[in-house]
């Protein structure tokens, strides 16, 4: 558990460093192949710094806003509030902020940068479709993510990797239309061609790298959070039966997207069956998670 915390903190800083490098590299390629030149590089530096700083301190709010989550007061949802308060007592962590997503698809996620600045968001569907023991199982899973600092890394991935993907998308398009003209006006030197090639590789690779990173972080983490959550509630069956219910519910969660999907307790996007998706899914298969919980 303490290893997990240290590793998450380390990964978060690495991710920020990686993100800054990536943006600078993209900025460099851009400065070479557009009319903007070096100011583009400076802009990239400013942008990377601001995004990293903002990503560290505000990414939870960005993610919550993106998901359409509204803060919940104790009086509005005493049932949810009591459940979360119970599990925060069980884990010895401060009470996280609570958010509700008005969507009938049952799902939940946790976000924030540390246990003192954490938030849990659940959907209306989760409250309606689960009984108390199942809800405790789900909240226990989220509390485990909070305690292990999974939330810091996973939220940063959402915001920073999401930005890289958007940026390279946009770059690719502008190179296609803007960069080509400049190259032809210069007559196209050999060195420029190589740089162009590297740039292209970067631009093509970055979403793939981003995607792979998202995968690497989610699967083992989910198993671990399941196990720790079950340890908090001392009742693995609650989470197991909740997961089964969530899996049986085929309704997609409209507010989720590719950048936030890995935050949720089960994949909120429509899952396609088959071994390729099993290999590349952000979440381990539900059957496997349920099986492990039942074996505890």
């Amino acid at each position: 558990m303490y290893d997990q915390i240290a590793s998450n903190k380390r990964r978060s800083y690495l991710l920020i460093a990686f993100f800054m490098l990536m943006v600078l590299a993209i900025g460099y390629v851009f400065s070479q192949y557009s009319r903007l030149g070096y100011p583009a590089m400076a802009a990239a530096l400013i942008f990377a710094t601001l995004m990293s700083w903002g990503g560290y301190y505000y990414s939870d709010r960005i993610v919550l806003a993106m998901s359409g989550a509204k803060p919940v007061a104790r009086e509005e949802q005493p049932y949810l509030w009591n459940t979360v308060e119970g599990l925060s007592l069980a884990s010895g962590l401060p009470m996280p902020r609570l958010y509700l997503i008005e969507d009938t698809a049952p799902n939940a996620f946790a976000t924030g940068r540390d246990p003192q600045h954490a938030a849990i968001a659940v959907t209306r569907g989760l409250l309606d479709k689960l009984n108390r023991l199942e809800l405790e199982g789900v909240i226990g899973h989220e509390m485990a993510h909070i305690r292990d600092y999974d939330i810091r890394f996973m939220t940063l991935v959402s915001v920073l990797v999401g930005t890289v993907v958007l940026l390279s998308d946009w770059m690719l398009r502008s190179m296609w239309y803007g960069g080509g003209r400049r190259r032809s006006s210069r007559g196209g030197s050999g060195a420029g061609g190589i740089l162009m090639l590297i740039g292209l590789v970067f631009v093509i690779l970055s979403p793939i790298i981003a995607q792979l990173m998202q995968l690497a972080l989610s699967r083992r983490r989910e198993f671990l959070a399941d196990a720790e959550g079950a340890r908090l509630t001392r009742y693995p069956e609650g989470l197991a039966s909740a997961l089964e219910k969530l899996a049986a519910d085929t309704e997609p969660l409209e507010v989720a997207n590719k950048a936030t999907a890995h935050l949720y307790i089960i994949n909120p996007l429509t899952e396609h069956k088959g071994w390729v998706n099993n290999l590349f899914g952000t979440h381990p298969p539900i059957e496997e998670r349920v099986k492990r919980l039942r074996e505890m």
Partner: protein, 185 residues
């Protein structure tokens, strides 16, 4: 000084440094126990505050069930008066039992069960029950961690010198005491 002399000094310094580290660790754990107990206590008080309301509400519909009310009130008083962890645990068992009977009584009065006030109290009480259970679980885990340290060798030498006494676990009789007021409609 001779080489042997220096070695004795260095070893003694290392032992003292180790003892200080262990001592501080014990202090941290002991404070954590006190802190986690206060978390249990907050929830226990919350339950004591809710009980009179509940008794009053049920009384309005089932005034003749006097014995049940008295049992609840007595158990609550025992909980408030408890000074040690064991007394507290015994009193909490009494309260849980008494409340279970009270809710069984309430079962016979559909009108009572349908009132807003009763439903709110029921949600609050079952929420508090599970919070007590979770806070107790964390407290017991903390005590366990503390015991593991002060009873293991050689740390127990430091514990003996520093006067670190074992603490009591907060044990309730039934492991499933968490679900007593869970009434499915």
């Amino acid at each position: 000084m001779t080489v042997a002399g220096w070695m004795v000094v260095v070893i003694a310094a290392l032992v003292i440094m180790w003892a200080i580290a262990i001592y501080n660790r014990m202090i941290v754990l002991r404070n954590r126990i006190d802190n986690s107990w206060s978390q249990v206590d907050v929830q226990l008080r919350r339950r004591y505050d809710l009980i009179p309301n509940l008794v009053e509400t049920v009384k309005g519909y089932a005034a003749h069930e006097r014995e049940t009310f008295e049992a609840v009130t007595k158990a609550r008083q025992a909980g408030i008066d408890a000074r040690t962890v064991e007394d507290q645990a015994a009193a909490e068992n009494m309260i849980t039992q008494a409340l279970r009977r009270l809710f069984a009584v309430a079962e016979n009065y559909p009108q009572l069960r349908a009132t807003e006030n009763f439903m709110q109290l029921q949600e609050e009480l079952s929420g508090t029950e599970s919070k007590i259970a979770y806070a107790r679980q964390f407290y017991n885990d903390t005590v366990l961690g503390y015991h593991n340290l002060i009873q293991s060798f050689p740390a127990r030498i430091v514990a003996g010198m520093g006067g670190f006494q074992p603490r009591h676990y907060f044990e309730t009789e039934e492991p499933e005491a968490r679900g007593p007021v869970k009434v499915e409609f």
